[in-house]
Symmetry: C2
Subunit: 112 residues, 2 copies
């Protein structure tokens, strides 16, 4: 998953900014990350997800949601909770999750 | 700049999520990007910035600010405006800027 530019509907909508630093151990990480993107995409209220990862193992993943309830439900999803535990135990040195609301957006497209 | 995990104060605070796809041309981009991070860091109300770039040239940069006025002032900064023009003319195939407010955050640190 190397997609960092998606379309979203008119604001307002809600966002989760997940900023992380990987630990040394990365076996199985990519599979888990791809599965989480697939799982998130099927959740009620999901609008899209963007992710970028630096060569040094730091990464930013931003997901967009219709409302805060959708975000809370996603956090509580059983398979996602298992992945969160695995992430803390094996894959992440540290991370920060920031939840908020997008109020306005604008963009540029050279091909438009 | 490959820093994707910074410390921020207690929410609420404001954020700009800049998601971009580079064009083919990248000469001079890294210098400009580093200069913009340096310039942003000196602006009133700046709290921090995180960025990650994929090998395919898509990237996410998230900056954090005390209030919306700080974000508006940063957008209007003369040197930043020149960089925005250069970015559209030379470096970016497309981008989206999303502005919003972070209401809560939490994190994990294996070394804590």
């Amino acid at each position: 998953m190397e997609q960092a530019t998606i379309k979203t509907p008119q604001p307002p909508y809600y966002t989760v900014v997940f900023s992380a630093q990987m630990s040394e151990r990365t076996d199985g990480y990519e599979d888990m990350a791809m599965r989480m993107v697939e799982l998130a995409s099927g959740q009620p209220g999901f609008l899209g997800i963007e992710t970028a990862q630096n060569p040094n193992g730091s990464s930013i993943t931003v997901s967009y949601w219709v409302d805060e309830e959708s975000i809370r439900n996603w956090k509580k999803n059983v398979e996602h909770q298992e992945a969160q535990r695995t992430g803390r135990a094996e894959f992440y040195q540290n991370y920060t999750v920031r939840v908020g609301r997008i109020d306005r957006d604008y963009g540029f497209d050279a091909s438009a």
